[in-house]
Amino acid sequence: MFCDKAMELIRELHRAPEGQLPAFNEDGLRQVLEEMKALYEQNQSDVNEAKSGGRSDLIPTIKFRHCSLLRNRRCTVAYLYDRLLRIRALRWEYGSVLPNALRFHMAAEEMEWFNNYKRSLATYMRSLGGDEGLDITQDMKPPKSLYIEVRCLKDYGEFEVDDGTSVLLKKNSQHFLPRWKCEQLIRQGVLEHILS
């Protein structure tokens, strides 16, 4: 059946839960592009034959192959676009530096797109808020207080605080720290916000 490989790509992305980026399926994409090329060449030869030889019974086949080509194109574009959306969400989730595991999952072009996105986001943030710029990736929900109480869920090690000194994060120790320093670690699951 035509377009099966393209469906595979879509299904792979559909199976990955929200926010996760599976590895870039270069193989699958290449197969889809080959299939498209084969279909196109067959269509090309058939069109020539239909025009010159007057064989109008080839026209439904040509139409069918054309539909498959369109479907393949739609599936690949959806695949690439969804991956880009996920990569964009990664910037908001993890910050500018991505963990290595995620970087291996991205293709070179996707990396480039990510860098460009980072740059335009940074330029935009610098243009807000007067001289210093405003970091809009902080405080995704309206904060209730400057400092929050957090509890450490696993041993993390030393963690630097604003005035240069560091705090040792050991399991089950509780800390009262500024909100903006803790947000990253809360998202990673090392700290837990305690509401008393």
Binding site: L146, Y147, T165, S166, S173, Q174, F176
Partner: protein, 566 residues
């Protein structure tokens, strides 16, 4: 040194700094910690909280954190030993110690720079005077430099004789002074006891800063009640402290009595109660509570059949049907619950129990949540000492700390269930010990040892549970024995701690008398006995009368203890 103005010398110093809190594992410390946390959160003081359950944990945690902090606050640990010696801190580290353990070590009292004690000085401390214990070393060296001056031989000889006489005089004085110093220190450090609850001290600090709330007041009440439940303070002191807290309670909660401006019925209110001392009776059935409170179980002698009959008589005397009494308290008939307290008090008087009611406090919030202070104490204590193996010690500490907030009621109820199990196990163990005569008199003290196969023995490997069990056992034993002399003896109790390491926990309890001052001499006695027999003993717990001992050394340790105390 003692801090006189808590606000200026403690709070304003730490307000702009980052501090590390070391909190011991008992309910009073938890309550003091909650109050201090609330104050710090109000003022945005960055802090880190590290739970510690013994000296070893304190030392390791200190080593890990000493690079990062300059200010340390110790709650319910550290006042009774030489802190600088044990922790070896840097020059600019400052410790604030808020501890109920007495006597306060003299080095901690007289160190002016690094150790600040958050302890009220009117707490009958009887610290020896500075001159009696410390002596400047410079005086001796001055005199020894004078020998070499001498010009003429005859003058030199007489001067030499004089100097020899002077030196012998000085040496004799020095020896007398040292002997006196040893005596004074021995008297001072001989008995261990407890002072004002740390939670109350913290609450007074909050009051001074005008930042006190009803919640903090409740925690102070729970801290004080913990000291009473664990028999750490005398009855007199408890009543005095209750009076102090009652003034605060009426200050915060007077709107309940005012007819016009009453609060809505589901707001938090604390009220003073003169309530029954039956443990958890409002969350349990009356019958269960009567059987599992050590006061009633000991007086009725519920481990014997005769005792059970007396209990039935008691209930019949009040006219309470057995079926009602065995139901959950909240499901009992309203008509029976109406004058319950007075009825029970009257009947108890007839049966020889004069102190059935105690002064305490209760809290109401929401429409159906009502707790007495002792309920919360038992629930939190059981959460902290539960023997479940899936969490480490700090997990239990965190659970217990959470259960004190009003938004974590499910944890509090879970704690109540654990407390019921613990109390039942305690009474069953006591009953079996008394029926099988496991409590033997060793001469100067009574001794009881729990064998490894005893049911629920793992519940009693933690220090507070074991101390509570031992105290109740002693009370029951005193009621059960006819031997006059045995009634005045203290108790030493041993329970297996860890099978792999072959260790037992040993606890010493002072004798049970009506007007006892709760002073415990076992700390020093255990130390000396272990030294003289070189037994492998570990003084891990902050209370010096609880030790860990290797099981093989048990018999020689006991022999040494017997010879020491007789």
């Amino acid at each position: 040194m003692f801090v006189s103005d808590f606000r200026k010398e403690f709070y304003e110093v730490v307000q702009s700094q980052r501090v590390l809190l070391f909190v011991a594992s008992d309910v009073d410390a938890l309550c003091a910690c909650k109050i201090l946390q609330a104050l710090f959160q109000c003022d945005h003081v960055q802090y880190t909280l590290v739970p510690v359950s013994g000296w070893q944990e304190l030392e390791t945690a200190f080593l890990e954190h000493k690079e990062q902090f300059h200010y340390f606050i110790l709650i319910n640990c550290g006042a009774n030993v030489d802190l600088l010696d044990i922790l070896q801190p840097d020059e600019d580290t400052i410790f604030f110690v808020c501890d109920t353990h007495r006597p306060v070590n003299v080095v901690n009292v007289y160190n002016d720079t690094q150790i600040k004690l958050l302890i009220k000085q009117d707490d009958d401390l009887e610290v020896p005077a500075y001159e009696d214990i410390f002596r400047d070393e410079e005086e001796d060296e001055e005199h020894s430099g004078n020998d070499s001056d001498g010009s003429e031989p005859s003058e030199k000889r007489t001067r030499l004789e004089e100097e020899i006489v002077e030196q012998t005089m000085r040496r004799r004085q020095r020896r007398e002074w040292e002997a006196r110093r040893r005596d004074i220190l021995f008297d001072y450090e001989q008995y261990e006891y407890h002072g004002t609850s740390s939670a109350m001290v913290m609450f007074e600090l909050a009051w001074m800063l005008s930042k006190d709330l009803n919640d903090m007041l409740w925690w102070a009440i729970v801290g004080l009640t913990d000291q009473w439940v664990q028999d750490k303070i005398t009855q007199m002191k408890y009543v005095t402290d209750v009076g102090v807290l009652q003034r605060h309670v009426s200050r915060h909660n007077h709107r309940n009595e005012d007819e016009e401006n009453t609060l809505s019925v589901d707001c938090t209110r604390i009220s003073f109660e003169y309530d029954l001392r039956l443990v958890l009776y409002q969350h349990w059935s009356l019958h269960d509570s009567l059987c599992n409170t050590s006061y009633t179980a000991a007086r009725f002698k519920l481990w014997s059949v005769h005792g059970q009959k007396r209990l039935q008589e008691f209930l019949a005397d009040m006219g309470l049907p057995l079926k009602q009494v065995k139901q959950k308290f909240q499901a009992m008939d309203i008509s029976l619950k109406e004058n319950l307290r007075e009825m029970i008090e009257e009947s108890a008087n007839k049966f020889g129990m004069k102190d059935m009611r105690v002064q305490t406090f209760s809290i109401h919030f929401g429409f159906k949540h009502k707790f007495l202070a002792s309920d919360v104490v038992f629930a939190t204590m059981s959460l902290m000492e539960s023997p479940e193996k899936d969490g480490s010690g700090t997990d239990h500490f965190i659970q217990a700390l959470d259960s004190l907030s009003r938004s974590n009621l499910d944890k509090l109820y879970h704690g109540l269930e654990l407390a019921k199990k613990q109390l039942r196990a305690t009474q069953q163990t006591i009953a079996s010990c008394l029926c099988t005569n496991l409590v033997i008199s060793q001469g100067p003290f009574l001794y009881c040892s729990l064998m490894e196969g005893t049911p629920d023995v793992m519940l009693f490997s933690r220090p507070a549970s074991l101390s509570l069990l031992s105290k109740h056992l002693l009370k029951s034993f005193v009621c059960s024995t006819k031997n006059r002399r045995c009634k005045l003896l203290p108790l030493v109790m041993a329970a297996p701690l860890s099978v792999e390491h072959g260790t037992v926990t040993v606890v010493g309890i002072p004798p049970e008398t009506d007007s006892s001052d709760r002073k415990n001499f076992f700390g020093r006695a255990f130390e000396k006995a272990a030294e003289s027999t070189s037994s492998r003993m570990l003084h891990n717990h902050f209370d010096l009368s609880v030790i860990e001992l290797k099981a093989e050394d048990r018999s020689k340790f006991l022999d040494a203890l017997i010879s020491l105390l007789s």
